[in-house]
């Protein structure tokens, strides 16, 4: 019990420290973290408008893009930040109660918090523009974001452990992320794809996450193929592998 309390204390302290070191001394730094994904979504929305592409029925372009881009960037940013958590905070392992896992979790929490905030800002914006939103299930949206965060954290943990042994991981990471990005249905509803293509995309757990968020946001959005249990297995598998890597990596960290 005391151990858990210390752990929370440590993660809280790391979180505040992370905000300071990452976003600088003024609040403008943090504002940028929220504005960046908004610009990203705005840019794609402009493309959609320019090429006359339509969002699937029952959705609007901005909302549809948001449900794709926010979860995928939550996943990607979390994995990326968690991967570097130990290498950029080595000095903190100097304090006995700071464990490598705390460094990873603090970063994961900060990313999750930021992306939920982005989501809320966009939902508010959409509500102002389109009138009061008809959200299907807030719980499903939150569950989707939680799964995206869990996937990012567990993958980040694995990469973090592997990067102690080899720097190949850091070099491969961006390419792998790009593949995951294009195979997760950010710009399509998987329901509109041919079955073989759809089955391929459904191997990617992020496809399930995005479809889950969409089902939560848009009333009447089909998403018959969503399986949160499948995503959970991925998270558990990666977390198990990542945590066992961390145990062996700890010994190696002492030597360097």
């Amino acid at each position: 019990m005391r151990g858990a309390l210390t752990q929370l204390q440590v993660i809280h302290a790391l979180l505040l420290r992370e905000m300071k070191t990452r976003f600088g001394q003024n609040q403008m730094g943090y504002l940028w973290a929220i504005v960046a994904p908004l610009l990203w979504i705005g840019m794609f929305a402009a493309f959609y408008g320019a090429f006359g592409r339509l969002a699937p029925p029952g959705t609007s372009v901005v909302a549809f893009l948001t449900t794709g881009i926010v979860p995928i960037s939550l996943f990607k940013d979390t994995a990326q930040r968690c991967m570097a958590a130990i290498s950029s905070n080595r000095g903190l392992l100097f304090y006995p109660q700071v464990q490598p896992l705390d460094l990873v979790l603090a970063r994961a929490v900060l990313e999750a918090f930021t992306h939920v905030l982005v989501m809320l800002v966009i939902m508010g914006g959409v509500a102002l523009y389109e009138g009061p939103p008809r959200i299907n299930s807030t719980l499903e949206i939150l569950a989707g974001l939680a799964l995206a965060s869990g996937l990012g954290t567990s993958l980040g943990l694995v990469c973090c452990g592997l990067s102690v042994y080899s720097s190949t991981v850091d070099r491969l990471f961006p390419s792998v992320m790009r593949v995951i990005f294009w195979l997760s249905g950010v710009f399509h509803s998987i329901e509109s794809l041919p079955p073989r293509m759809r089955d391929l995309l459904l191997l990617n757990p992020m496809t399930h996450v995005i479809e889950l968020v969409r089902r939560g946001w848009f009333p009447g959005y089909g998403a018959r193929h969503v399986d949160p249990g499948y995503v959970l297995w991925w998270i558990l598998g990666l977390a198990f592998f990542g945590l066992s890597l961390e145990r062996t990596a700890r010994r190696r960290l002492e030597l360097t």
Binding site: Y95, P96, E254
Partner: protein
């Protein structure tokens, strides 16, 4: 109280492995300032890090009761882009101490003046270690682990450090590792010599001197 039993630690080297601690079993006497003497590379810093819990032994166990500090001495564990004050806040938080008390005490003790509010990367090494030492004094530890205290500040500041330790002598104790006999004599009631991976204990510093100088 700190108790080591059968603690072994080795590091791989290009020519096999270097046995730094060889089945060390020792119980540190409670409420006693204790010195550990060792030549450079004898493994005293490793021993201190294992006592602190930053490193794990290859085999054997350590039992600690009470709050044990991190190894105090060199200014490790600070983030260079944060100010001295912000670093103090962080450490106060992870130890669950009162933030304002810790910040106030450290600012007073470390004598950094306006530098206290500037990024630590702008500090000289002396300023860093003064900050590290002041901060460790601001938190109530039952046992202070000190790595080579002579590294901290000038003669006047060292006097201040010694006074600070004396003031809390009834509440807490110190374990110092050093290669200076004089440091150990100044601070400690009992001491041991670390040699060839073994810890040899002596009741007085003078008895230890013979063994240390023979090493």
């Amino acid at each position: 109280m700190i108790e080591l039993s059968e603690v072994t630690k080795m590091y791989p080297t290009t020519t096999g492995s270097n046995l730094v601690l060889d089945r060390v079993s020792f119980s540190f006497p409670p409420r006693t300032n204790f010195g550990i003497l060792g030549k450079n590379g004898s493994g005293k810093s490793t021993l201190l890090r294992i006592i602190a819990g930053i490193e794990q032994p290859d085999s054997g166990t350590i039992r600690r009761s009470g709050v044990v500090s991190w190894p105090i001495g060199f200014g490790g564990g600070f983030n260079g882009s944060l100010s001295g004050e912000e670093n103090c806040r962080f450490v106060a938080r992870i130890y669950g101490a009162d933030i304002d008390d810790v910040v106030g005490f450290t600012m007073d003790f470390a004598e950094l003046r306006e530098y206290f509010f500037m990024p630590v990367k702008t500090y000289s090494s002396g300023m860093r270690s003064r900050l590290a030492f002041g901060l460790s004094m601001a938190i109530e530890f039952d046992v202070y682990l000190v790595d080579e205290i002579t590294a901290v500040g000038d003669a006047r500041f060292q006097k201040k450090c010694r006074r600070a330790f004396q003031e809390r002598n009834d509440r807490s104790s110190v374990i110092i590792v050093s290669h200076h006999l004089s440091t150990v004599r100044d601070y400690c009631e009992r001491c041991a010599v670390l040699r060839d991976g073994k810890l040899l204990c002596f009741d007085s510093v003078d008895e230890a001197r013979v063994a240390y100088e023979a090493a």
